[in-house]
């Protein structure tokens, strides 16, 4: 038996750089300091992405992408297919948790300045992954073809149409015509299951490769602590902790999906008034709410609503360029202006989301996440002291 295993290993070794990979894995370490907890959020996002891929493929076995059949097929999945309700609810919950953890990951990377040289490409690929996740959310929202999603898509694509010069083309490109119809549904389905996954695979591969090659960034101010403490072995120590988090996440996900199954709502009717509470997914809420505040009118042929849209686009562009804009952090290890911008953006996003829902829940969720991070960082600190 052992001889057989060995001969297979030798056979593979001759053809693949197995030994090099094993050496690389055994030497890989993770720095230990007060903020080590932030290293887990990227992996958490990845876990939910893997869940999305699996449940998404399963849903494709029954889902039918047409205006006539989409709603009914989701209804069929929810009511007739064994465990269909579970798979669909897990897909919806996991999507939301994935975006949530992507935001948490973004915030922790931003505030710990992990985008510093030489990790600019990691940062940019991460931003693109976030934009892709939002694209997944926007396109997936329409697929059940219910009223809420139908109107949210009309609004969302109309917003694209308000962009000066390219707006009209963008609107028709997104909708596959002038209106939101079954044609739009086909298009969104194509994006959701083919184009976006392809792009995500490419960016995710690059992102993970860079993280493996460059290792974790030590935040400025933590270098001393990290030097004093023995770094954690990635394999198996860090990976087992990651897995522990993943199992916890799976439990939370199953509980959410079972206790709060995702609603289906009413079938989309292009000839019914939009009902109150038409709203996009929560991660678009702050932009949606901002648009409510802009009065009607136009200046120099550009409608006022185009102004916040352009500002948000500019915000996205600035986010991409943060590693190149923040030069101070390279020299001094500090960039208070970027801290302030980050805090203001966070307050604006959380505040507008809260305002949109007329609820303080978003504030509590952010505070709870912060508190959880603080507790976990105390935990890892104790661990580090014991293992010193």
């Amino acid at each position: 038996m052992k001889a057989a295993v060995n001969s297979i290993r030798d056979w593979l070794n001759e053809r693949l750089p197995m030994q090099e990979a094993a050496d690389f894995a055994s030497h890989k370490t993770v720095p230990v300091h007060r903020l080590t907890v932030v290293y887990y959020f990227g992996g958490m996002t990845l876990f939910f992405f893997i869940v999305q891929v699996i449940t998404g493929i399963l849903l494709m076995l029954y889902y039918r992408p047409s205006a006539e059949a989409a709603f009914e097929s989701v209804e069929f999945i929810m009511t007739a297919v064994p465990f269909g309700w579970l798979i669909r609810s897990v897909h919806s919950w996991s999507a939301n948790l994935m975006v949530f953890f992507a935001f948490v990951h973004l915030a922790t990377v931003y505030f710990t300045k992990a985008y510093r040289s030489p990790r600019e490409i990691t940062w940019i690929s991460g931003c693109f992954l976030l934009f892709l996740a939002l694209g997944f959310g926007f396109s997936g929202y329409l697929l059940p073809w219910n009223q809420l999603a139908f109107f949210a898509t009309r609004v969302g694509t109309d917003i694209a149409g308000a962009v000066p010069f390219v707006g009209e083309w963008a609107l028709r490109f997104l909708r596959g015509g002038d209106r939101v119809t079954g044609g739009t549904l086909s298009r969104f389905y194509g994006w959701h299951v083919a184009i976006l996954p392809l792009m995500t695979t490419a960016f995710l591969g690059l992102h993970l490769l860079l993280v493996q090659l460059q290792g974790m960034s030590v935040p400025p101010g933590e270098e001393e602590t990290a030097k004093q403490r023995r770094p954690m072995k990635f394999f198996p120590n860090f990976m087992l902790r990651d897995l522990w988090g993943w199992i916890l996440a799976l439990g939370v996900l199953a509980a959410m999906a079972a206790l709060f199954p995702w609603e289906l709502g009413e079938k989309a009717d292009p000839f019914a008034p939009a009902f109150a509470d038409i709203r996009p997914e929560w991660y678009f809420m702050f932009m949606f709410e901002t648009l409510k505040l802009v009065p009607g009118g136009e200046i120099a042929g550009i409608e006022y609503e185009a102004i916040p849209i352009l500002l948000f686009s500019l915000g996205g562009l600035l986010l991409l360029l943060v590693p190149f804009l923040d030069r101070g952090v390279e020299r001094t290890g500090r960039s208070p202006i970027f801290d302030i911008i980050g805090v203001v953006a966070l307050i604006y996003i959380v505040g507008m989301t809260s305002w949109g829902y007329r609820s303080l829940a978003p504030v509590y969720i952010v505070l709870a996440t912060g508190a959880l991070m603080a507790i976990l960082s105390v935990g890892t600190r104790r661990w580090a002291r014991v293992n010193k």
Binding site: F151, R154, V155, T157, D158, I159, A162, W169, R172, F173, R175, G176, G177, R179, G183, P270, F271, A272, P273, A274, F275, A276, D277, I278, L291, K292, L293, V294, P295, G296, G297, E298, E303, Y304, E305
Partner: protein, 149 residues
């Protein structure tokens, strides 16, 4: 020598360009949806004046070709119709009987019963449609006919 090499380079260079253009031009055109001319609708029959939906909610959304049009019953003899799509971001408006206004739930756009913007983000008024009441004989309720102005 130099000239002939330049010629070869030019031919190779442009043929690669031509190959790329001839590959990607159809793709670029393919992803932009075609313009499909729609039969223009000028007039639609919207049912009798005593339609229960109209009596109860005070309005209904009718299909005017591919466009939604909102038909409002202000009183027994006063019916009005407007383009049903909010001029802000494409949602469909409703009539609120108690408030006597047209209202868009998406971003709280408010229009008067003349279709003018009263409050909220809509940039333009709702396009008005003409409403005629046509008799269908004595004892029968009148039929509402909506047409383009």
């Amino acid at each position: 020598m130099a000239t002939s090499r330049r010629l070869v380079n030019w031919m190779l260079g442009t043929s690669v360009g031509a190959l790329l253009v001839s590959t990607f031009y159809p793709v670029a055109r393919f992803i932009s949806p075609p313009d499909i001319p729609e039969a223009s609708t000028n007039q639609v029959e919207a049912g009798p004046t005593n339609d229960p939906e109209l009596l109860e909610r005070g309005f209904k959304i009718i299909r005017f070709g591919n466009e939604p049009v909102i038909l409002v019953r202000v009183s027994d003899s006063d019916f009005r119709a407007f383009a049903g799509t909010c001029t802000h971001l494409d949602c469909i408006v409703e009539f609120q009987k108690d408030e006597e206004r047209l209202w868009c739930n998406c971003h709280n756009g408010e229009y008067s019963l003349q279709g003018e913007v009263v409050a909220g983000p809509p940039p333009h008024a709702l396009e008005p449609f003409k409403v005629d009441l046509v008799s269908k004989g004595s004892g029968q309720p009148q039929t509402i006919v909506v047409s383009r102005v």
